[in-house]
């Protein structure tokens, strides 16, 4: 099926604007905008190359290698892939995790959420939010924030450092950790490690509270901007705990419609394909998932912090739950669909993760020695986890020789595919009419993309950078205007 503005009636009569982050290798995005003769946006498509090659890459490998191998898929959220794969392999080895194993894994996951959300808010989103979309680009970069808000930037870096220390302690190494293994973990915490993390956790909780407050005040300072920018209505999908509370590590699938009514609840993660269909479209490498029960027209949804915070019934940590209720009050009893609200809800989740870490660090099970459990062997395993950017699904089949014969991954960027297209369409309609490409046009598109922070090229990064280019191409394919940013080589 197609959506409004996705496929114009007579595309041959349109000119094309392409926004193309030119990647060297794999994993790049491109936005194409087709304008009509009156310079109105008629067609918008966001293209992102998905990592389908990885699923081939993993076939034929023994299942016990998978939790370690999958970390090489993403340099930003390797822990999420590590844990989703480990959960899937748990099913294959028939494991019900020991208390120590589950708590060590949860601690690892909360460290990942903390460090990823801190990076996004303090060093990607904050320059936009604090300086404004129309401010000069030099002020809206990752490190310019530190120049004008040194304490804010410092806290962002230190929050990220703390999260990474949690990962190092639980996964064994700062990068390429091996902590989660089939059926459990290969280490627990020592008393010294726990004491080290406990020493700073109250600062972390305090800084996370400050971040939530910053995000809330920004929204309240300019409601028309924050509520309206790129806003579109959609359903929302996430996992929730059996009692309906927010749970980022385990639970069942729940979806709400755009009005907040529950569409699907207690969905079995291990049979996700009965609930979610991955549609292929000829113009995109990335699939378009939708809820089978609603079909492709109405069944698409958004995932990630904005969906999770509104999909759950409550949060079991007091500060984050108070922040959630404040957010719901802001919405006036209706779901908030503004993409910029991702930033606010991201901070609520960061506070949630900080509180969970604080609580877990008082649990002696973290120091336990019962690390692994196995049971009846199965041929299929599915692991679902809420990664920083949204629901992450790993699905594997193994043969009698313990080798992977089939793998299917649905990453958060794939879940959000249609949602990101919608956000860009709204922005394009408002800001991209006209024949001249400007920096401001590109900025607004980038702000919409940044709210979701899709994985574009996280599996490799070799020097060369990822420029973002805007091209204006006529119906014959001739480029009539082009705008590129971010392609200057590193100073050397």
């Amino acid at each position: 099926m197609t959506f409004e503005l996705e496929t114009a009636p007579h595309p041959e009569q349109l000119r094309r604007v392409a926004i193309d982050p030119v990647s060297r290798v794999e994993g790049h995005g491109k936005v194409t905008l087709l304008l009509d003769a009156d310079d109105r946006v008629q067609q918008v498509r966001l293209h992102i190359v998905e990592f389908r090659g990885f699923e081939k890459f993993i076939q034929g490998r023994p299942y016990w290698e998978v939790p370690v191998m999958v970390q090489r898929l993403c340099g930003i959220c390797p822990v999420s892939h590590h844990l989703a794969a480990a959960k899937a392999i748990d099913m294959i080895v028939g494991s019900r995790l020991t208390p120590t194993a589950e708590k060590v894994r949860r601690l690892m996951h909360y460290g990942q959420i903390l460090q990823s959300h801190a990076l996004h808010f303090f060093h990607l989103a904050s320059p936009d939010l604090l300086f404004g979309f129309d401010s000069e680009v030099a002020r809206r970069n990752v490190v310019a924030l530190a120049a004008e808000h040194p304490e804010l930037a410092k806290k962002g870096v230190l929050l990220r450092k703390y999260g990474q220390e949690v990962i190092r302690v639980t996964a064994g190494k700062r990068v390429h950790g091996t902590g989660a293994i089939p059926g459990g973990v290969n280490k627990s915490l020592t008393a010294e490690e726990r004491a080290c993390l406990q020493a700073d956790i109250y600062h972390v909780v305090g800084w996370a509270r400050e971040a939530v407050d910053i995000a809330r005040r920004l929204h309240e300072s300019n409601r028309p901007l924050y509520d309206g920018f790129g806003a579109f209505r959609s359903s929302m999908l996430s996992i929730v705990a059996p009692d309906g509370s927010l749970d980022l590590y385990d639970g069942h699938l729940r979806a709400r419609d755009a009005d907040g009514q529950i569409l699907l609840d207690r969905g079995n993660c291990s049979r996700y394909w009965e609930l979610i269909f991955e549609e292929v479209k000829p113009w995109s490498y990335m699939k378009f998932p939708f809820l089978r029960a609603l079909g492709p027209q109405a069944g698409w949804y958004k995932v990630g912090p904005l969906a999770r915070v509104q999909n759950c019934d409550r949060i079991h940590t007091p500060l984050a739950d108070a922040a959630r209720r404040e957010f719901l009050d802001y919405g006036g009893g209706r779901p908030v669909h503004a993409p910029l609200a991702y930033h606010w809800t991201r901070m609520i989740e960061m506070l949630f993760a900080a509180e969970l870490i604080k609580d877990l660090l008082h649990d002696d099970d973290l120091l336990g020695t019962d690390l692994v459990a196995t049971g009846e062997r199965a041929e299929r395993g599915v692991g679902v986890i809420e990664a920083p950017r949204g629901t992450l699904i790993h699905h594997y089949r193994v043969d009698e020789q313990d080798q992977i014969t089939r793998a299917n991954l649905i990453v958060s960027t794939t879940h959000n595919n249609q949602a990101m297209n919608e956000a860009i369409r709204v922005v394009a309609r408002k800001y991209l009419d006209g024949r001249k490409l400007t920096e401001a046009l590109l900025n607004h598109i980038e702000v919409a993309i940044r709210a979701f922070d899709p994985c574009l090229s996280c599996a490799t990064h070799a020097l060369g950078r990822m420029p973002l280019a805007v091209e204006l191409v006529d119906a014959d394919g001739v480029t009539v205007d082009r705008l590129v940013k971010g392609d200057a080589p590193a100073s050397c």
Binding site: P21, R24, V25, E26, F51, G53, F54, K56, F57, M69, R72, G75, I76, S116, L119, H120, H123, L124, A138, R140, N141, V142, V143, A146, A147, P150, A153, V157, L158, R160, K161, Y162, Q164, E165, V175, A199, D200, H203, V204, E446, I449, R450, D453, P454, C455, L456, S457, C458, A459, T460, H461, A462, L463, G464, M466, L468, K485, A490, S491, C492
Partner: protein
Amino acid sequence: MLSLQPPEDAAPVLVLAVGNPSRGDDALGPLAAQRLAALGLPGVDVLTDFQLQVEHALDLLGRRRIVFVDATASGEAPFALAALTAAGDTSHTTHSLSPAAVLFAYRRLTGKEPPPARLLAIRGHAFELGAPLTADAAANLDAALAALVAELQAGAEQGDVQPLPA
């Protein structure tokens, strides 16, 4: 942990190599780090990661010199070794920083100039998932490592590191 104080055990020289070991020639950085670490140079810390991020500015604390090592998809072969200047960065994703931006982040976070830094950019040719290192890249790595060791030995003359045994 949550401070900008340098760790007491920070070696004077940091070699910070980045790359994904599973993506063909993107493994040049991690392989360089692996081989350099095996030499056990006193006074040299070797770190590796998938890509650079803001927190790597903290790894620069307490150092006298920094060498970034990375694969390059379009630079000169076999490698380029040049001084690096702090510079701001712009991006539409969280997914990486340039070495210059890490230095810039250090300056902004600490209020001090970052340690002198060099960038060793090793030319790679193929970056497909699951691909092995290409023969050309392997040769480039040999040449680059020789230059890197020479660079570190030059540093030894300045008292940063101990010279390699003959």
